[in-house]
């Protein structure tokens, strides 16, 4: 089966109509799109700071105050998951077409 990349110099056109309640693609401006995902980036930076601080606190109090260490380790894991969730949405493979 031939792939589209086998014909790189051919202008192709297709039209697809789909029975779908929501639009498949959306139109926006570059600034609006970036502004939509900028809170995720800020959250990711914040949660990364939290889990590093809590991890350091957990190691620091490991032998002197184990209860603080356990709480800090739980918090570090909590914020690590939040950080990964924000980053997975930020680094999504969804296609974006922008113009110059």
């Amino acid at each position: 089966m031939s792939h589209a990349s086998d014909f790189p110099n051919t202008i192709r056109e297709t039209t697809v109509f789909a029975d779908f309640k929501k639009p498949l693609v959306g139109r926006s401006t570059r600034w609006d799109y970036v502004k939509k995902y900028m809170p995720l980036w800020k959250d990711a930076i914040r949660f990364r700071l939290y889990y590093w601080v809590l991890a350091i606190v957990g190691v620091y109090f490991l032998f002197s105050t184990p209860i603080v260490s356990a709480l800090a380790a739980a918090g570090a894991g909590y914020f690590y998951v939040l950080y990964k969730s924000r980053m997975s949405r930020l680094t999504s493979q969804r296609k974006v077409i922008w113009s110059h």
Binding site: P8, T10, I11, V16, F20, L24, S28, Y37, V96
Partner: protein, 147 residues
Amino acid sequence: MTVKTISQVRAEMHAHSAGDARGHDAHGHEEEKTFVPLFVPMGRVPGSDMMNCRGKKVPVHTTDILTRGEVMEEMTDDSMRSGSIGTIYKAWFLAIVCFIITIAMMFVNVYVAGVFAYLTGFYYSERLLNSSWSIGWFKGKSLVYTA
């Protein structure tokens, strides 16, 4: 979700000629469809439309097809003169730090304070430069994203 060929849809539109002016059935959910016209120049003869960009020969194109991750990586890049939002935050932070050091150094050594005053102005101008490029210039450029 059902994908139909254009001939099938045309046949249905003729069948629903009692609907609105576009041929849609007024009682169906046809009017909820959204059509986004977009011209993407995909075909190109290699070498015919090339330009110099940072010492490299790159094809001239008006659109880029990226992923969301690549878009956000480009916009949050923090290297100086990259014209991205990450640089704006970085230059703003460095300008504030240099301003605070300038005020503190005024009571210690006025010449060292002068150096930090220069750095304050430099980073503040970098902030303005990057924000005018990435926000000001590219603010209204169109963008199509998959929902």
